[in-house]
């Protein structure tokens, strides 16, 4: 196992890449299933008996309690098997927060444990029936009575409190800002955003004797496994959570919802498989969202554009009962040099639904402010925005002084500018017109922290030579299946076709799952390490077996390539070795632990966005014309899936800039947009001529693979580049996202 940075940097099968599998644009491993609709998602798995259908009912008030439930009509409704609510909850649940088992990663979360209501849409009742139609009809017959109490339904930064132990100061920001010859003090706001994964959260559960089998749609397997164990009071060894195909996560399936517990509990009660999917409306109301932010950016610079004072303070909100901080300022601690710095967060606890992580939590919101403020500063100084950023490029982490691991931000900006044709931009806004459209260009930097978490994996070589890798990892569309296959094949020196990948099962060697851009590095490093263990194991077997042509060869000289195990000029196939010595197969487990020294480097993925938009001179509609991203994210494992991750993130940035928005109606405490017709994620027609590419890079401080995450850096700064392009097109500085026609209109000239 790699234990030092020297191990990371040493040549290994991945860095040698003799088969060229690493980096290749390999088709998605599970792709044939997905393009034929035959990949079974959680609601679609085959059940051992016909399933019972569950329907969840949400609260129609935001604060107060359920005072009673009239459920007689529902119970009498055709096909109904059970009805649950706070006055008739499922039996056999532990108390809220209980932890009965040593080593649990989650506490008990019983359903309907109390009649109290903490947010609008909170599940308050549940119906299970023989068909979906009967369950839905019965759900409509349930009359929930409420006692509403007043709640706090307004996000008011004035009421926010500083997050404890959070503020970061370097130098004397206030004094430096006051002295600065050029000052900017700007406030930006971003709205609530919703994940809108295409697959609603869903769970299918059944019992096999005393073992609970749960197929659900989650990003991480351990928390739901442990949550169910604690809630149902059974040991986690009796809970198997599977999540083989996941219709999008984006952070929202890093949490679990009541479909999980209810399916397991109902399956226990009814002695039958039970499946539950949240409705699209419930996905909005009863899961999590990215909270709104109000961000104050202060930049103090000299006339040459060198920042002397920098501050980003972000205010956000979270649910009273579920603390969460959208750390919108954190990224900025590492981005630009300035000797005097202030960053921090303020939080208001309100009676909103639960705020939580959504793709690039922190950066996605925070870069919408700073990267526009930099554009404003560049304009004020008469500098090109790229030049301004180059003048503030730090040699090391601006706060900690930690050296960069691999940082090609400047290269992303300059190379991307060349490819995009940035030199064609007229820095004066409102100068380029194409028919009814005012055309403008904008750019922004991208940065996203890189992380590595401990992980394990198991690899098995069968007697037929197949290499089976098993890991409690998930693939939420990120490409985990594919890169795990590639890493395994290259490490083991076998063709890709010889590798079988099985993930999404809590019974497999644990990996941290998908989130925070850590998935590929964490799971992939463990797969690599396990491959190295397998190589050592097989080499030892061959060298020690008189029947092997490699008998007696020094183990360290034994190599794996072209599906062969070789030394000198002698070789045999994995199949011949394993079938001869271990007909039942050879299995090893391996693991990867982050090397502590790695964290003494400032580690981030970087990029630069370039955008051209048109602003309609009549309507104020903003439409993308083209967009290019240049990125440096360490070694790229798969040119195809990595590009897709990045372009997907960029499009999220376009949505954040132009159309995605939600808000709480302060009279009711409920979200105004509750479906995909009201909450506008980008559609095909919004995305014109958008591409991304990677600069060559290896980050040998990050992990033994030299890779960095690509799942989130694409969104970081993307929306700011759009906003900057809007300004360049028409002179409208909109600091309140999204940039919808109503906000642009006042900046447009009268029509004559």
């Amino acid at each position: 196992m790699s234990t030092t940075l020297e191990d990371y940097a040493a040549p290994n099968p991945i860095s040698r890449n003799r088969s060229g599998i690493i980096g290749r644009a390999v088709d998605r491993y599970e792709g044939p299933l997905k393009v034929t609709g035959t990949a079974p998602y959680a609601y679609e798995v085959a059940t051992p008996a016909p399933p019972i259908y569950g329907v969840v009912i949400g609260a129609e008030i935001a604060t107060g309690r359920v005072s009673g439930v009239d459920d007689a009509a529902a119970r009498a409704s055709p096909g109904v098997h059970l009805v649950w609510h706070a006055f008739d909850p499922p039996s056999g649940q532990a108390e809220t927060g209980a932890r009965s088992y040593v080593g649990s990663q989650a506490a008990a979360k019983p359903v309907f444990a109390t009649p109290d209501i903490a947010f609008f849409g909170q599940p308050v009742a549940f119906v299970a029936a023989d068909t979906l139609e009967n369950a839905q009809a019965a759900a409509d017959l349930i009359r929930v009575r409420y006692e509403a109490t007043p709640g706090e339904f307004v996000f008011d930064p004035a009421k926010a409190e500083p997050v404890p132990n959070d503020e970061a100061r370097t130098g004397d920001f206030e004094a430096a800002f006051e002295r600065a010859p050029v000052q900017l003090d700007l406030t930006y706001t971003t709205p609530i955003q919703n994940h809108c994964q295409m697959e609603p959260c869903a769970t299918t559960a059944w019992w096999e004797g005393d073992e609970l089998v749960v197929h659900t749609s989650v990003q991480m397997l351990k928390p739901p496994q442990h949550l169910l164990a604690e809630t149902l009071q059974i040991h986690r060894s009796k809970v198997r959570v599977l999540s083989r195909y996941i219709g999008g996560g984006f952070g929202g399936k890093g949490s679990t919802y009541e479909d999980l517990e209810l399916a397991a509990l109902a399956a226990r009660d009814l002695q039958a498989p039970v499946k539950i999917a949240l409705t699209r409306q419930q996905m909005f109301l009863a899961t999590v969202h990215r909270p709104a932010t109000v961000q104050r950016v202060r930049l103090g610079a000299d006339r040459a554009g060198r920042l002397s004072a920098f501050a980003l303070q972000a205010t956000t909100h979270c649910a009273k009962h579920s603390p969460f901080i959208e750390r919108a300022a954190n990224f900025s601690r590492a981005l630009y040099a300035a000797p005097n710095r202030l960053t921090g967060h303020f939080l208001q606890r309100v009676d909103f639904p639960v705020a939580s992580a959504m793709r690039a939590p922190g950066e996605a919101s925070g870069m919408l402010s700073l990267e526009c403020a930099m554009d404003e500063l560049a304009e004020l100084l008469g500098l090109d925005p790229i030049e301004l950023r180059i003048r503030n490029e730090p040699d090391a982490h601006p706060e900690t002084g930690a050296p960069h691991s691999a940082r090609q931000l400047v290269e992303c900006m300059t190379d991307g500018a060349k490819r995009f044709g940035w030199d064609k931009r007229n820095p004066r806004p409102g100068q380029v017109r194409n028919g009814e459209w005012l055309v403008g260009m904008g750019m922004a930097a991208a940065i996203r922290g890189n992380f590595l978490l401990p992980a394990k994996a198991a690899i098995r070589v069968e007697s037929d030579g197949r290499v089976i890798v098993r890991q409690g990892m998930t693939d939420i569309g990120t490409g985990s299946y594919t890169i795990i296959a590639q890493i395994t094949a290259e490490t083991m020196g076998v063709p890709l076709e010889q590798v079988v990948v099985e993930i999404g099962d809590s019974g497999f060697a644990p990996a941290p799952g998908s989130g925070g851009q850590f998935g590929a590095a964490s799971a992939g490093s463990a797969v690599y390490e396990t491959g190295m263990v397998m190589r050592k194991t097989l080499a030892g077997m061959a060298a020690g077996d008189p029947a092997s042509p490699l008998y007696g060869a020094p183990v360290e000289e034994i190599d794996f390539r072209d599906g062969l195990i070789t030394a000198s000029n002698k070789s045999e196939t994995l199949a011949s070795l394993v079938s001869r010595l271990a007909p039942a197969g050879v299995e090893v487990e391996g693991d990867s632990m982050p090397v502590a020294a790695s964290r003494s480097f400032s580690q981030h993925a970087y990029g630069a966005h370039f955008v051209e938009v048109g602003v309609n001179i009549v309507s104020g509609e903003v439409r993308l014309r083209r967009m290019l991203g240049a990125f440096a994210c360490g070694r790229i494992l798969n040119a195809k899936t990595a590009r897709s991750q990045i372009t997907g993130g960029m499009i999220w940035g376009v949505g954040a800039a132009l159309s995605e928005s939600n808000a709480i109606d302060p009279r009711y405490g409920s979200l105004i947009n509750q479906d995909l017709g009201g909450y506008l994620a980008p559609v095909h027609a919004d995305i014109v001529d958008l591409d991304a590419y990677f600069l060559p890079e290896v980050d040998d401080k990050a992990n033994p693979l030299g890779i960095k995450g690509v799942g989130e850096v694409g969104i970081c700064g993307a929306g700011a580049a759009v906003a900057n392009a809007v300004y360049n097109a028409c002179g409208a500085r909109i600091r309140d996202y999204p940039i919808t026609p109503d906000k642009v209109l006042p900046f447009l000239p009268e029509l004559v």
Binding site: E133, L658, A663, G678, P741, E750
Partner: protein
């Protein structure tokens, strides 16, 4: 969905009679609006009368114009060569609405009587006079950006979502119906929908059981035609405002609970007013209730741009 009886109508007259005889009956054509609302328990018909296979889908010349059968889908109408040539404003309006999948299903008759997309109408936890007369209007004082600026009342500030109806208004179309007694009516498009007044639950002037069988387009107007819809994203989204131009006629969408024929502006133009002044005349009484205030300014620009383009 609550249980309902399902019957497939064998003729338009029979469908109308059955609907009139069975309170709580609804016609089901394409289903794209009714089923959406039934799933949310906003509509809960006791009886569903499927008119989807009635032979009412023909598009045929009529009296110098065109007769579009009520069951013709949005796709079929938009693709019709005569519509494309002679009534491009209609084709454009249809193509600006919904999605290809919805347009392949949504019918001409259903399009006319589709219900508002007001978010408070859709959220059954909120008071809405359309859903529950007398309950109140949550949209008043709410967060809506899509609410009406013209013709609203204190009981309802919703808008009609149809793009097609706006084009039909500009084209002076006539809606043909069959009544439960087997008779027929011809209703000018501008008299089909009602403004909310005290009773926003009464959305059209159709009588109980009355079934739309066709839309009659008069001979194509002289002069330019065009439809423009403004929206937050480039496709598959409700409009913030829209304008239809057909010769001298001008109609507005997304501004009221019915397609809004801009007769004041038309009259002002006839009297020689410049485009901007004509727009101001039309919008003199407009009010936006906060969130939709911008729609006044937006609509003013749309009217002006449309008139400038028309060369008024």
């Amino acid at each position: 969905m609550r249980p309902f009886s399902y019957t497939r109508a064998s003729s338009a007259a029979e469908a109308a009679r059955a609907a009139a005889e069975q309170p709580g009956a609804r016609f089901l054509a394409g289903g794209t609006n009714l089923l959406d609302l039934m799933k949310l328990e906003i509509e809960h018909p006791a009886h569903v009368i499927d008119i989807g296979r009635l032979p009412l889908g023909d598009i045929a010349p009529a009296e110098g114009g065109l007769r579009i059968g009520a069951m013709a889908t949005a796709s079929e109408v938009a693709a019709d060569a005569r519509v494309r040539r002679d009534y491009p404003v209609l084709a454009q309006a249809l193509l600006a609405s919904g999605s290809p999948q919805l347009r392949n299903k949504a019918t001409t008759g259903g399009n006319l009587i589709q219900r508002t997309r007001c978010p408070y109408f859709y959220d059954t936890a909120k008071p809405c006079n359309k859903r529950e007369p007398g309950a109140g209007c949550a949209a008043l004082g709410g967060l809506g950006r899509m609410s009406a600026i013209l013709g609203w009342s204190e009981a309802c500030i919703a808008t009609h979502p149809s793009d097609m109806a706006v084009a039909l208004s500009a084209l002076d179309a006539v809606v043909e119906t069959v009544t439960p007694d087997g008779g027929a009516r011809a209703i000018p498009i501008d008299e089909l929908h009602r403004l909310p007044g005290e009773h926003p639950e009464h959305e059209t002037n159709l009588r109980p059981g009355e079934l739309i069988t066709a839309v009659i387009l008069p001979p194509p107007p002289k002069g330019r035609q065009g439809y423009r819809k403004v929206r937050d994203r480039a496709a598959y989204a409700g409009g913030l405002a829209s304008v239809a131009v057909a010769g001298d006629a001008l109609a507005l969408g997304c501004v009221a609970l019915k397609p809004w024929r801009a007769r004041r502006a038309e009259a002002a133009l006839k009297a020689g007013a410049p485009p901007l002044a004509a727009a101001d005349v039309e919008l003199a009484d407009a009010k936006g209730h906060g969130g939709a205030d911008f729609k006044i300014h937006l609509t003013r620009r749309l009217i002006t741009a449309a008139l400038l383009e028309r060369g008024a």
